[in-house]
Point group: C2
Chain length 225, copies 2
């Protein structure tokens, strides 16, 4: 496949779980790429040119072709580089992987984020309840499996990097218990396994600066209350 | 492909644009299926069993395998029945089709819906402004093309059935101008072409009862103000 030889650039921001998804996928496929760290407080011309619709990271630029939206990019990577498949080959299993990835974006990211970064107490509690309910679905889904993808990492695992790395981090900032071994033993066990997978470990941002960054945001939010 | 021979059932609700997407895809592939109309005020045991996560329509049941989320279902249909492709074969074009379908769900459906079904005036105006901005992106994307998919219907066209059929309907209810030939000439022209495509025409619900249904909801919302 000729197009898989073109130059690859990733515009990202190191604290972003969505960027991290793309990093994991590229690492899994062993694709060499140039990484450009964006300053989201002062977005580059390049970011605005390549993602005029959302003006957000991640953006993957393959040759001259730009692409946004993390899950769209991960599927593109899977279809462009055929080694180490990210999606299963069976159509129904592929569909389920897409369903659960979308579930993470729709039902877990927002609710867990707002469980921490919300000033209004009632609103915050509502989000905590929603986050629990949604995490329970993932707990029931992972069961005794090593990864959501089975024995190997797959699309749902990559989408769920937010659950494995970012939820523990933001819950610590807020002194909240969302994902714990008592509440969600299988999901917690999966999270440990996942962040220690060599491909993932190399793709995660260093914890301390990300922790500091979000702690700053958190305290700023409540300081201005 | 043996699995394409199994029985297909669609749980739906005739006023739903998301259900309509699945109907168009099934019709395009010439798949015979059993349609079950759900009463969303009194959901069936079957719906709760097959979509325990969202408890929403559409649900496609293929053999004994249930699947939810309209765009996930449409991609599944495309991968299971290979005639009349819905997604392009080139990975980058496939990724763009997924990007724009997601854009419709994230940026157009919610904003245009809340442009009509919102009591608070400021909130409503904010949504109208967002809907315009997002429709402009689609206007720029369709340009002079017959369909988003080119000469034939594709994933983005199917996702955008909401734009072609539901937006004109709800804007009439509210006496609002969102999608008009003056504001978005190419998108409007596409909408006309699309709803008159034989496959789409057969898949759309009859306009009058859907109009009545949403008019009832609209007036109920403002009556209780």
């Amino acid at each position: 496949m000729g197009s898989s030889q073109e130059e690859v650039t990733l515009l990202g921001a190191s604290g972003s779980p969505f960027v991290c998804r793309v990093k994991i996928a590229l690492k899994l496929k062993d694709v060499e790429y140039k990484y450009v760290e964006e300053n989201l407080g002062n977005k580059s011309e390049q970011l605005l040119k390549y993602n005029p619709v959302h003006k957000k990271v991640p953006v993957l630029v393959h040759g001259e072709k730009p692409l946004a939206e993390s899950l769209v990019i991960v599927e593109y990577i899977d279809e462009t580089w055929n080694n180490n498949p990210i999606l299963p080959s069976d159509p129904y299993q592929r569909a389920l992987a897409r369903f659960w990835s979308k579930f993470i974006d729709d039902k877990i990211v927002g609710a867990s984020w707002k469980s921490v970064f919300t000033v209004d107490e009632k609103e915050r509690e509502k989000n905590v309840a929603e986050a629990y309910e949604s995490l329970q679905f993932l707990e029931n889904e992972i069961k005794e499996k090593k990864f959501f993808g089975g024995e190997e990492l797959g699309l749902v695992d990559i989408a769920a990097v937010y659950v494995a790395f970012w939820i523990p981090l933001i819950q610590e900032i807020a002194g909240l218990e969302l994902l714990t071994s008592e509440k969600f033993p299988n999901l917690y066990r999966w999270g440990q396994e996942f962040v220690n997978h060599p491909i993932v470990k190399e793709s995660l941002p260093p914890r301390d600066p990300v922790f500091g960054f979000f702690k700053g945001r958190y305290e700023g939010l409540f300081a201005s209350k």
